[in-house]
Symmetry: C2
Subunit: 514 residues, 2 copies
Amino acid sequence: MSVEISNDAHARRALISRAYDPQLLRAAGDRLVRLLSDHLHIVQQGEGPVLNWHEPQKNIAAARKSLADSNLSVDLVSPPELAPLLERFEELIQQSLARGQNLHHPHYVGHQVPASVPLAAWFDAVTTLTNQVMAIYEMGPWATAVEHAVVEQLGEAIGFEPGSFGGLVTSGGSLANLTALLTARNVALGESWSHGLADHSPAPVLLAHAEAHYCVMRSAGILGIGTDQVLRIPLDPQRRIDVNRLDTMLSELRAKNVPIVAVSAAACATPIGAFDPLVDIAEVCRRHEVWLHVDAAHGGAASLSSKYRHLVEGLHLADSVVCDAHKMLFMPALCALVFYSDRQHRFATFEQVAPYLFDPSAPGMAEFDSGVCNLECTKRAAAMGLWGIWSLFGSQLFEALVDETFDKGLEFYELLNQQPDFKPFCQPQCNIVVFRYEPTQLETLSEAEADDFQLRLRRKVVESGDYYLVPIQIDGRNYLRTTIINPLTTVEHLGGLLDCLRHHGKALLSSSHS
Amino acid sequence: MSVEISNDAHARRALISRAYDPQLLRAAGDRLVRLLSDHLHIVQQGEGPVLNWHEPQKNIAAARKSLADSNLSVDLVSPPELAPLLERFEELIQQSLARGQNLHHPHYVGHQVPASVPLAAWFDAVTTLTNQVMAIYEMGPWATAVEHAVVEQLGEAIGFEPGSFGGLVTSGGSLANLTALLTARNVALGESWSHGLADHSPAPVLLAHAEAHYCVMRSAGILGIGTDQVLRIPLDPQRRIDVNRLDTMLSELRAKNVPIVAVSAAACATPIGAFDPLVDIAEVCRRHEVWLHVDAAHGGAASLSSKYRHLVEGLHLADSVVCDAHKMLFMPALCALVFYSDRQHRFATFEQVAPYLFDPSAPGMAEFDSGVCNLECTKRAAAMGLWGIWSLFGSQLFEALVDETFDKGLEFYELLNQQPDFKPFCQPQCNIVVFRYEPTQLETLSEAEADDFQLRLRRKVVESGDYYLVPIQIDGRNYLRTTIINPLTTVEHLGGLLDCLRHHGKALLSSSHS
């Protein structure tokens, strides 16, 4: 048997050569850099809409058309020429920029996704172009080193004991919480990894901040614990865990011999940005010998700020901590960190060997094989942006970003307080500010109508492209919620948001009255 | 209370302005494009090492030093100047390139991670710079559209019924398999999501290809099923699922009323790249009313090849399928696709609401909110590269890449067959080729020594930087394993690999004999 090189093979090699051509990469790259830096400049100036709003089906039709067009234009007889390829490349980039969400617009005050530090994209591009991945050390030696270095630095800033703690980077806060809670489950429930949870009686429970992020509840569903087995820890008036009631809950569960997977606290909880009293919670957990997990996806970065570090006091007393660099370290998504106060716990997440990955001829290397402790097997080198920006600007930049945006949360609150027609929910602890627009006309509406009005008003504003903010439900009532997570958003922009809400709100009220 | 703007605030704003400066982005981008295109050119020529080998601790020390240096050089009194920033940026990029793994080197024939299509990095850079994310449609409208379009196109290529199937993109093959198996668990075990798996008796089982990827076993551990509850389906002589024995296993389990989560088949299995007989397996699963999951992370791309489509015949008969675009669609990591033949199954993965995400004022939008069906909450817009490359070069490029590398698997096998001192394990079905180096000197060694020799030989070659290949254990014996996943690797390069193994092998044998 022999394999012949057909004409087809020559043609396909020509196509492949074109696709892998460094000259094409360079020429397209030059255009990309111009397009992206111009785009950033315009968006940062506040020109154009925040959100480019199109109905889903229209966007999907456009994306589908681009795919279909290519199948018509590229053939295997002759590979595409450089010039038309570059033209098409530029069109595709422009199309993508024209239909996205502009987080770098100063009117973006929405979800906890930042106007990321732009240069992080260039560090990420190194990773993507060269396709550096992790799983075993060999495949991404530098990616592994970079991850170890940032885990070490941030862990020490949190206050973990150097040399004792360990950590990893994973694809987002939800997976980070899942990873840590899986570890907690395996530690708490002896043989649950190999035997499963069937026959476990009484059924184990997970205790969580009553307003924990939905991924904590989901983790219980995924891990076989069951979402009904999540016990919500009651909150104090500031919507933080009520430590005395937590203590009582744990005493009662221990008395009944109910297995406890973990206590999941928040720093801060998503709805209003409330930071749990971690020192007291840690003391209660220590006394009851329960794993303390803290979801510090948003607030962990406060560890780098002299001014705001007090909000996360005691974070290092937790058994596991999650901190998203793609939130308050202003990295592009996704770069979530998981920390274990005891580095050996990294190996409790999975209890398994994969002989073709982990080489017995170099056993010490497993310490550096991320596959051993990550939910991902192959994972992208997600820490490159964080390492690069940190190396360029120092931790001072992260401190500046935290201080700038947290300060502005308080300034916005003060501004709201000065308005007769706006009502802040509470004084914010950080850059998450919750409020309602309540003009006098709202007094004639029922509670349900006034609640519905907040949602409709938000949708109106968002689809207009003027500002981007999000809705939130607290105790069954609807509010408007902003996160000041673009450091270029000023108090003047926030004042403009109030005018914008008034403008659209009045139109909405008059149209529904007519 | 009022918030004063201190001198500190002025200084920190100057630092932030510098970090977000579009001029800096552009100047750094120009340098980046030059560095990356030059790097690609050199590596593709086969100049320099494949793997830049340094011990982990040395790389970590270097990464740590860059972080520490920055804290010394940046201060808050005056923001860094443009010129030194650019110089430092260039140093950091060069350091990263000099210490990585060069997948674009034609001597890279290692793990199933490709020499990715370079331009995909530019499409990814759009996403990273503008920080497009998904979870709800609003936050990444174009990212969502792009994902829908590629899921649709690839799903149709697999053969799923247009309009009936659904899918999503997630952060890697392991998470993709976990997502699909979680869905299967929830469908098979009524209330396991809310009630958990405790009190489930008899304990449920998962059936898997005896050489399934380790993430399948892990999924059972994560999902509370337990790794001991994974029943390995015996293989036929070609190391594919033995359909008759699968049939018998299912009959026996059904007779005993043991709950069955799913059958997990492989297209192809990792060790030697064996493709399961999917049409027959689907028929057996249908008869026993069992969920069929197929891990087609590697082989799913064959759906796009006229020549190799037969390998995945019947793939569309599965209830769930995983296909990694970051394998045989030559995308950078991570872009893994999950397909469900019934699109409604996307909503069986989680059974939960998050009121602040999913807006009751626009209920139809949930169809386009990826957070509803993804393990990630915030997820990166991972399909942009795939959409961009597909739109530029058409599906013809993917077909060419599959054909080129699969063909070369067979050519390499023929080359091995011609060598007296090399022994292929079997004829390959795709681009995964397993073999041993067995010079006559090996006959004097014990089986254990000869096995150990393969591992030590590989490590020697890999650390030399001459070639990169991986080890594999099959039936307790060690082999060398290559995946031809760089389309620029030629048969001549593969011949060079054999010479390289001979060279290092002889040195190793003579040093251990002396």
